[in-house]
């Protein structure tokens, strides 16, 4: 094996963790690609939003979090879920509407949550989770707990009033929350260049007196480094940070999207910036991974996702008796 080069990553991130993260990025990609396939075949009903191409921000941000730390997620949330420790089998079971799913088949793609693992839930309402994250951070502050809350949202959500209200609240109360805007260039069909009149959404932080950082959302190493700084600020009681991860969703907005609002050339350009491929190159270059090992990992994950599908397919459906349970605590 070649000499191992020290990568410029946060102290907390060990070499083993780097390999885990590489694997996790494939888990996110293969999970969503499998879901895409099932929707195309009409095997799952409802709708879904895929984060293929955005794996680095979910994996990179959550790499810095512990189990006690919390996240809130979005409609495009499968990746966040996996990165925060959810397993593919129970997630797939949820999409199949089975009782073994994270929400017993009652939530579906847009509402996967795993409160015990600190995942306070995906959200079908654009920006809906942002005030929730602030509330979670308020609990940490009031109960003097050490956890931080990461709030994922998209470029589209940064135009919602609740984004502005929530960031202001977090700022005046110096709450331990990290706002992560995954700017994937489109809010459904609306290009960010037409919907936002600033070059970087991160600059919106200035209006609320908190730091704003622009990061390459397709570079997991950079995502880990900016997150590390924001997490430390939060844990030290210095308040929130707004991180903007510039990225791109390879697939359409949801399952039915002819992608008329963007060009195939643009899609091709972004595919060149494949976050998984880039990370592999970094790891190989550093001597932490070989091409052979990388391929082994990829195939291993592929099998894992097939197993998850099998688990989902074999799991029981809810019955009519389940309809009215869990409406109230």
């Amino acid at each position: 094996m070649a000499e191992v080069k020290k990568l410029n990553v946060p102290e907390k991130i060990t070499d083993d963790k780097l390999i885990d993260l590489y694997k996790q990025m494939w888990q996110i990609r293969f999970f969503d690609e499998k879901v895409d396939e099932f929707f195309a075949k009409g095997m799952i009903h409802g709708t879904t939003h895929l984060a293929v191409g955005q794996e680095a921000s979910a994996a990179g941000v959550c790499a810095l979090l512990d189990v006690e730390d919390k996240i809130t997620s979005t409609h495009r949330g499968h990746g966040h879920c996996i990165a925060k420790g959810a397993t593919a089998d129970r997630m797939m079971a949820e999409l199949f509407g089975r009782t073994t799913g994270y929400c017993k088949g009652k939530g579906g793609s847009m509402h996967i949550a795993d409160v015990d693992m600190g995942n306070l839930g995906a959200n079908g309402i654009v920006a809906g989770g942002i005030p929730l994250a602030v509330g979670s951070a308020l609990t940490a502050q009031m109960k003097k707990k050490d956890y931080v809350t990461v709030c994922f949202f998209g470029d589209g959500a940064s135009n919602e009033g609740s984004f502005h209200e929530a960031v202001n609240l977090a700022s005046i109360w110096k709450l331990p929350v990290i706002f992560v805007c995954e700017n994937n260039q489109y809010g459904m069909s609306g290009p960010v260049t037409e919907m936002v009149n600033v070059e970087n959404i991160a600059t919106r932080s200035e209006a609320y007196g908190i730091p704003g950082v622009v990061a390459d959302g397709n570079d997991i190493v950079e995502m880990m480094n900016v997150t590390d700084e924001a997490v430390q600020r939060a844990r030290n009681g210095e308040g929130p940070t707004l991180i903007e991860a510039k990225t791109y969703r390879w697939k359409g907005h949801s399952k039915s999207d002819a992608k008329k609002y963007r060009t195939r050339e643009e899609e091709k350009e972004w595919r060149q910036k494949d976050p998984i491929k880039r990370f592999k190159e970094v790891l190989v270059e550093a001597g932490l991974l070989t091409e052979e090992k990388a391929e082994e990992i990829r195939l291993e994950v592929k099998k894992e996702i097939e197993d998850a599908v099998k688990f989902a397919e074999e799991s029981p459906m809810p019955t009519a008796d389940d309809l009215l349970t869990d409406v109230y605590a």
Partner: protein, 327 residues
């Protein structure tokens, strides 16, 4: 027993609970040294400090969401909205988040919070500060809805709401804040989903909410002079609704008037009326169910117009007589 006002009863319920339970805190606009738009939280910041009597920016969506998020992670917030009309701005957080989280997550997680807010007209505050929008939230599975009409009920129901592990919308009526009744000093809880028979009678049942409970009682006194015996039922909580007490009363009297201040069209009175019509009480009805509610217009500013928007005592008397064919 001592007498205190409805406003004092609400404050006392919160203060007593906050002394006992560190997880309970209150947040809202101008609830600090100002004491809240109606003075309900006056003196509380002095006792509990700014951490637990948390003065917020004017951001109803943000503070409602912060309440939901903190409830989901272990606190038991009380959110004060200055006027119930402003729930429009907090609606996503209450309807799409608070009400649905437990169900969407397959029974994991809970949102134990109380949203307290004053509703109702009669203060000259006009169209955007006078509405009674409680029917909106009764429509949402996952929320509970409380509407106390007396100081005694307010204190006991608020205790139950704070103890509940679900999001509860607690409507206080502005004109009732200054009304008084006998209220025990110690904490007590009145169960959500239990109606109160405010007055017993045998000829006609009036189901009334909030300030209409008082108007119905006044009407009943007048009617008694004419030999008409009226039973007044206050559901106290709209969700859950104590159907049994209402059905039992209507089965006894055979006549019913449902009255609330909210606009009649789409109001909760329609729900109560249909519930009665679908129940065994239907067989006992001797007259059509009568509904009284607000006029189908925004609340006007002019005091006479404002008054004419909502049912008054003579309207209730008239309605009762109509069910008796004595109008």
């Amino acid at each position: 027993m001592r007498e205190i006002t409805y406003l004092e009863a609400v404050r006392e319920a919160m203060s007593q609970e906050m002394r006992k339970n560190d997880d309970v805190y209150i947040l809202g606009e101008d609830i600090g040294v100002y004491g809240g738009a109606f003075g309900v939280t006056r003196g509380m910041i002095e006792e509990f400090g700014p951490e637990r009597v948390r003065n917020t920016p004017i951001s109803e969506s943000g503070i409602a969401g912060a309440a939901v998020g903190s409830a989901l992670t272990g606190m038991r917030p009380i959110l004060e909205l200055q006027f119930s009309d402003f729930i429009t701005i907090a609606m996503d957080q209450m309807v799409n988040q608070a009400a649905k989280i437990r169900y969407m997550y397959g029974g994991k997680g809970k949102v134990p919070m109380v949203l307290r807010t004053p509703s109702g007209s009669g203060t000259g505050a006009a169209a955007q500060h006078s509405q009674s929008l409680e029917a909106w939230v009764t429509h949402i599975p996952g929320l509970k809805v409380v509407q106390p009409s007396t100081a005694y009920d307010a204190k006991g129901l608020l205790k139950a709401a704070m103890d509940d592990d679900n999001p509860v919308i607690f409507y206080e009526h502005k004109l009732l804040y200054k009304t008084s009744s006998d209220v025990p000093e110690e904490q007590y809880s009145l169960p959500l989903g239990k109606a109160d028979v405010k007055r017993e009678g045998s000829d006609v049942t009036i189901v009334a909410t909030a300030i209409m409970v008082h108007r119905a009682q006044e009407a009943a006194e007048e009617l008694e002079k004419e030999g008409i015996s009226v039973e007044v039922i206050d559901p106290r909580t709209l969700v859950p609704l104590d159907e049994e007490t209402i059905v039992k009363s209507v089965s006894k009297t055979g006549r019913v008037v449902v009255v609330h201040e909210a606009v009649k069209r789409g109001g909760y009175g329609g729900e109560i009326a249909s519930m009665i019509a679908e129940s065994e009480a239907f067989d006992y009805l001797d007259a059509p169910i009568k509904r009284l509610g607000g006029a189908p217009s925004p609340i006007p500013y002019n005091p006479e117009l404002e008054k004419s928007h909502v049912p008054q005592v003579p309207d209730i008397i008239q309605a009762v007589k109509e069910t008796l064919n004595k109008a």
